[in-house]
Structure formats: C-alpha cells, structure tokens
C-alpha cells in the first residue's frame, strides 16, 4: 500500500509538472530559428554543443564507485549496529580507515583536480 501511495505521488507530481508546461504551450507556434540559436552574447557556435565532452573529474568518479559499493554494506550494518556493539564500531572503523587512506592517496595524486 505504501508503495502504491508513493507511486501515485510520483505520478501526480510529474503530471503536474508536465501539465503546467503543456497547458500554456499547446497553442504556441514553434520559435523561429534565430530565436532557437544558442545564446552566446550575439556570437554563434560552429557546431552542435553535444560532443564527446571532456569530463575533467573522471578519476574522482572512479573513487566514488569504491565508496558506493561500501554503502551497500552500510545499510544493513546500521540496523544491527547497536545489537553488535563495539565489534561493529571496530569493523566499520577499520573499513573507513582504509578508505580514508585511499582519499589521502587520491588527493596526493591530484584526483580531485580538473585534469
């Protein structure tokens, strides 16, 4: 039931978002080509903007994957944490310590820089 309610909430919010756009726009003609040109302060581009974009923080995204995997363990761990007591603290502490070394190493290697 909860999921069904959530589903309806998503449906209504997204529907509202589309409706507010669609209702006033349904009779509007397509803007002219000069209007559709990208705004560059009066200048023009030579090409489309879509390209093989040079994402400059790619090493950081790899580091993120390591952490995201760790999160999977963390959710169940959070629920049983109090039951397990000090043992759970030590385990996660060690885990985080190892990951922290990774961050420090990454920082030293310039992982967070725009390459």
């Amino acid at each position: 039931m909860e999921l069904l309610t959530l589903f309806f909430i998503v449906l209504i919010a997204a529907g509202l978002g589309l409706l507010i756009q669609w209702l006033p726009m349904r009779h509007q003609p397509m803007p002219t080509y000069p209007q559709r040109a990208p705004f560059l302060g009066g200048g023009l581009p030579e090409t489309h903007a879509w390209n093989r974009y040079h994402v400059r923080y790619y090493p950081m995204t790899l580091l993120l994957i390591a952490f995201e995997m760790e999160m999977m363990f963390m959710y169940p761990w959070a629920v049983v944490f109090v039951e397990q007591g000090m043992k759970a603290v030590m385990e996660m502490g060690m885990f985080l310590a190892i990951l922290s070394v990774g961050i420090v190493y990454g920082w030293r290697e310039g992982v967070f820089k725009w390459q």
Partner: protein, 436 residues
C-alpha cells in the same frame, strides 16, 4: 477571462530586463541595479525587455539583431542614448537616466496588458544550414558524424587536450559582444574542450570606458587631489560590483555600488566591506591562484593589474602633491585574480584616505604632463586596449576561472570623452576605428 487575470498579475512582476551594454552604457545600468522593481537578468530568455544602453557600432548590429531575436515573446525594446535599428525605427528611446526605470515598468505593463505588441523578429526564419530532407536520414546528417544534422555540423576534433593530452571533441564558438560575463563589446573566438579553454582569439576590443572629468582636468592643470582620488575610488568600487555579482555575492556587490554613488564614501565603510568580503570566503572559495600575469603582461595591462603583480608603477609617485601626502604605491606579489581584488580594495581605501588628507590640507596635483588613471598611467598616450593579453592568459583555464579572471582585469581602452560628456560622444562606425 482567466488569461486577463493572469496578465494583470504578470504586469505587476519585477521587470526582467536583459541589458545590451553598448558604448558608455554602463553608468545607467549601475543606476538600474539599485532601482527597485527592476531585475537585470543574464540571459535574453529570462527577459521581457531588451534594453540597449548606449550606442552599438554598425559592425555589431548583426550581433545585436541576433540577441534581439533571442528574447521569447512577448517582449519589447528600449533604447537608451542609442539609435534604434532601422527595422525598429518606432521603438521607444529614452535619453534621461532618471526616466528610465519608470519607462521600463510602463513598457512591461503595456506588454502584459496587450496595449503594446511584441517586437517583430528581425532575422529570417531559416536554419543555420538547410537540412530538411537532406542527407542519409533526411535530417541533414551523413554517415556517423558528417553533414549538418538539424542545421549544424557535429563537433569533431583532432588535437590533443592541453591538460591531460586526451583527444576528445572541442567546440569553437564566437562569444560576445553582449555576453554579460565579458567586458562590453569584447568578441572572441573561443575553442573549448569540456569546460576548459583551449584557445582564445580576441576579435574586437572592448568598448572604451569613460572616466570622470577630474582625470581630464588633471592633464590641463592642477586639480584637487581629493576630487581625483574620490573619482578613482568610485571607479574601482563599480568594478568591484561587477566582480562580486559574478561571484554570487549580490548583497556585497550592491553595497560596493552604493558606496560608489555616495559623494563622500567613508573609508571605514570600505574597510567594513573588505572585512565582510574576507569573512564570506570570497578569496578562498572563488579564486584558485590562477589567472597570473607575468611581468610583461602586467606592464601591458597597467594600473591595478601591474601593481598586483609587484610592479611599483604609479604616476602619482612622481607628483609633488602626492609626495606631500606621503603617497607610496601599494603592491601585491602574486599577480593573480585574488591579488588583483586585494589590490583593488587596498587602492580604494588608499584613495579615500588620500582624499581625506588632501581635503584637509587643500592639496592639488602639481604635474599635468600625465595622470595615473584607474586604468593605468596616462602620459603621452591614453591607456589602450589590452585584451590581447587574454590570448595568452585564458587558455588552460576552466570556464569559471576564466570568467573570474576576466572580471578582475580591466582591459578596455580609455575613452577620449569624459563621463560627463558621453551623451554627446559619437558611436564609432567600425572595429578599426575603435582600435585606432
């Protein structure tokens, strides 16, 4: 019924204005920034009025037409001390800065109520390249990347990136002359890889900027130093306004602008502004130690940029009047964006302090063979356009760094007209004439 109710509500909205900054148009935009009920927006898509502030040279009329056509309907144009384009001969023109805010509000109200029609489109409704029905799939494309899908070619690149040597696509665009982040009038062909600037070629120089008449009088004979220094402080405060607004510090930007409009801005208020700026994290969060000028470049730009790079070049050191006030040029060492803002703030404070001292002792300048303008020394020649330095400085900078570097640099040539006479100044006809 419902629609009229909506437009009546829309008529009361804060008027979103996209300013086209023409020649000598800056002062009125500063006044508008402080006016209530008007918002100066950064993109023509967010505006209901295109305000052309100041003259636009004819060779940039095409760019003006393109910006004009990028406003969504309904929109209107307003021309401040500027001749409307031939096609828009009937458009409203206002020359009185005091009447401008009201005129903008009236136009917006009339637009919303339907009393005034939307400005017509000026350019023909044609794609940049014909594409419909052409090419392999009828969308103009050929093969994987060829042709002109939907009117434009796809980006392609065969050169290595300057930072990490990868070969990905680069985009080449022409920026300006009316991009709000660039100095007014500056046009450049820029190649970007990702958000990093690969190359920058300045096509046309920024429009000349006008100084207060005090600086012109200083070349004729002695002028009170107090007057000169206050004019200097006002000039730099206005630059500071631009830089802070770009950095997302609207409140402090307005504070700087308000100080610039005061006849006798207090030195303690500038010091308070500097303290708040440091506390907000402006220097630590928005600058990265990039945008550094070497000695040659710093000398070419002159003024604040030179002193921020450690060059003790200041015409005032040679003036008896200033020596009497114990004037000593301030300098920074780094020569980067942060250093230039530190220098700007320090020079504003220094100027106000000198002004206070000079007023007490009624000190006048003694030399009239030259003057230190806020833009650099004006001896035999007026400070000229220095935007050429961008071609060496900006490549390798990320977009945000490039824009904040640009904001911290003052590159425009000085206008032969003083601020007080700009309303009579003619608009040059071409780029060449502006350079000369």
């Amino acid at each position: 019924m419902a629609v009229s109710w909506l437009s009546r509500l829309a008529a009361q909205a804060t008027v979103p204005v996209f300013p086209v900054r023409g020649m000598h148009g800056e002062p009125v935009l500063h006044r508008l920034a402080l006016a209530a009920g008007i918002e100066l927006v950064d993109s023509p898509r967010h505006a209901s009025i295109l305000l052309v502030a100041g003259g636009v040279p004819p060779d940039q009329h095409d760019a003006l037409r393109r910006v004009h056509d990028q406003l969504p309907t309904p929109f209107a144009t307003l021309w401040y001390r500027s001749e409307p384009l031939d096609e828009l001969a009937g458009a409203t023109r206002v020359d009185d800065p005091d009447a401008l805010p009201e005129a903008l509000k009236t136009i917006h109200r009339e637009l919303m109520s339907g009393k005034r029609g939307s400005s017509p489109r000026l350019l023909p409704d044609e794609p940049p390249n014909p594409w419909e029905g052409l090419g392999d799939d009828g969308h103009g494309g050929e093969g994987m990347m060829g042709g002109v899908p939907y009117g434009r070619p796809m980006a392609m690149n065969m050169t290595d990136d300057i930072r990490d040597g990868l070969t990905l696509d680069s985009l080449t665009v022409t920026l300006g002359p009316f991009l709000p982040m660039l100095p007014p009038g500056l046009t450049a062909e820029v190649t970007l890889q990702g958000d990093l600037i690969q190359s920058w070629t300045t096509h046309s120089a920024p429009y000349p900027i006008a100084l207060e008449s005090a600086f012109f009088q200083a070349l004729q004979g002695p002028v009170p130093i107090a007057e000169l220094e206050r004019a200097r402080a006002r000039y730099h405060l206005k630059r500071l306004h631009f830089g802070l607004r770009l950095a997302g510090l609207e409140r402090l930007a307005l504070e700087a602008l308000r100080l610039a409009f005061e006849p006798h801005p207090g030195q303690n208020r500038v010091m308070a502004l500097r303290r708040r700026l440091v506390r907000s994290g402006f220097f630590r969060l928005t600058t990265t130690g990039r945008g550094r000028l070497d000695e040659n470049q710093a000398r070419r730009v002159g003024g604040i940029a030179a002193r921020a790079a450690g060059l003790e070049e200041d015409w005032r050191s040679g003036d008896e009047g200033y020596r009497h006030l114990n004037f000593r040029p301030l300098t920074q060492r780094e020569g980067d964006t942060a250093a230039r803002w530190h220098q700007t703030l320090a020079e504003i404070e220094q100027a106000l302090q000198l002004a206070g001292q000079a007023e007490r002792d009624a000190v006048h300048t003694r030399r009239s063979d030259g003057v230190e303008t806020p833009r650099g020394p004006w001896g035999e020649y007026r400070p000229e356009d220095a935007s050429g330095v961008l071609e060496e400085l900006l490549p390798g900078l990320e977009w945000d760094e490039a824009m904040s570097t640009l904001a911290s640099l003052d590159l425009a040539p000085l206008s032969p007209w003083s601020l007080e006479e700009t309303s009579e100044a003619p608009v040059p006809t071409s780029v060449e004439e502006r350079r000369a």
